[in-house]
Symmetry: C2
Subunit: 268 residues, 2 copies
């Protein structure tokens, strides 16, 4: 793919971009009709084992209906549909923010030709409230990433005294600035466009593995990769063979190659 590649050059890119925008707009329109209190009501337990909020349920129904030709993997419903193309869906990434109308929550969609991350070919993340959108197309090791139609790339910061998205520090660290906004897919896009120098999630779950799930982060990861980021868990293992499923959990370090290497040594 050339440096001047546009979304028009990506097979199916234009079509998928329109579909994603239509999902985003329908989700925001629907949830805007409800009060914050309504949106935050717990209405059951999702397939991932965590409580489902009304806002998640409303958004997922809309997205799955529009994705009826795909095989969708999503937080609340698990695997839905029979299509050849897999979609990792997070209809609301940042539910806590969404029900408080803190303007940092997103829809996240990641399209793959198989059930593995390495076969992802298109991804879309949009802030639902501000409509700022990120997307990327190509393949797992070479693609092109955009923010609101303009090409983006990661920062060139090489030193660990940089600006970090960091879940969660529990010892001393050297970052200049730490932010935790609460929507991983959107935060990965802030690394993709160079607003932040790295995204690090070193949280450990109950079984000793990480906290992040494929449908939370796959779209953001692909966009970051297409913008020039290296992507791995905190041991430095690549994520190419991670399954688009309900089960995978992992830690994450995302940054340009030089900084990524330093962070692995520091935190791994």
């Amino acid at each position: 793919m050339s440096v001047d590649a546009d979304i028009e050059d990506i097979p199916e890119g234009e079509h998928l971009l329109k579909l994603c925008r239509s999902i985003r707009d329908s989700i925001f329109e629907s949830i805007s009709r409800f009060s914050e209190v309504e949106l935050g009501k717990s209405i059951g337990i999702g397939k991932d084992g965590t409580p489902t909020k009304k806002v998640d349920s409303i958004a997922e129904k809309i997205a799955i209906e529009k994705l009826r030709n795909f095989r969708v993997v999503s937080e609340e419903s698990g695997v839905v549909g029979e299509g050849n193309i897999f979609v990792a869906l997070d209809p609301i990434d940042g539910t806590f923010n969404a029900v408080r109308r803190i303007p940092f929550y997103s829809v996240s969609l990641c399209f793959s030709r198989s059930d593995r991350l390495k076969d992802v070919f298109f991804a879309y993340v949009s802030n639902l409230e501000t409509k700022t959108e990120y997307y990327a197309g190509g393949n797992w090791n070479k693609g092109t990433a955009f923010k609101n139609g303009s090409r983006i790339s990661v920062s060139s910061a090489e030193d660990v005294t940089c600006n970090a998205i960091f879940y969660y520090p529990d010892r001393r660290y050297n970052f200049k600035r730490i932010r935790i906004f609460g929507s991983a897919s959107l935060e990965l896009c802030l690394v993709a466009d160079g607003s932040f120098d790295c995204f690090v999630d070193i949280r450990k779950g109950e079984k000793g593995n990480g906290m992040l799930r494929v449908y939370d982060v796959s779209a953001g990861l692909f966009i970051a990769k297409c913008a020039g980021a290296e992507v791995s868990d905190i041991q430095g293992n690549v994520l190419d063979n991670k399954k688009i499923s309900m089960d995978e959990r992992f830690t994450l370090i995302v940054a340009n190659a030089k900084l990524h290497n330093k962070l692995i040594k520091l935190l791994g």
Copy 2:
């Protein structure tokens, strides 16, 4: 002040609210004319000793012009004007976010009858991008706080396994959820309206005192107090006699009384 108090019942409240909205709208209109790159350019050193970005300079000029009848204390210009009423001004709280158009940066205005926090009688904070606004009137120990015209109050969470704004963890902690959005005044308002249970800033500066400055947080502190929060540094010292000046630096714990008490014991 009665429970049903409205902004109309607060002396000068209506007038000051209009003035603050006019400052907010003018600031946003002006900075929207520039690109992110332009806004982020360093153009000198402010009176606080840190580099001034163009976005700060533009915003401060507009605010000071509109506040010409007041004595203004502000980050870039220091003390300006001769009025009887002191105004702690942060024209852009969250400069890092503003120059990246991350939708979490605010204007913060705090009005006092003396150079001390205890004489504050009106405060205003608004997200510049989304226009969500918070204000409060009354006095330091009894007032009324509003979000977009509706009364707000702090949460009633009593346990430290709560949702926290926390600058910065560097050891284990028990919070359920930690967020760092990068605009203290707006984050204090998220405690005032119950979105988060506490705001904690335990960062230490070079001289061993805290990192927060009066013009960063005074408006947010007053709004949080009027919404029912207890406010102190991490040793539990009240801030009533803090001067509205360039010099004060402090740590901060803000939460409802019971949680505040527990946090002092845990972190102080």
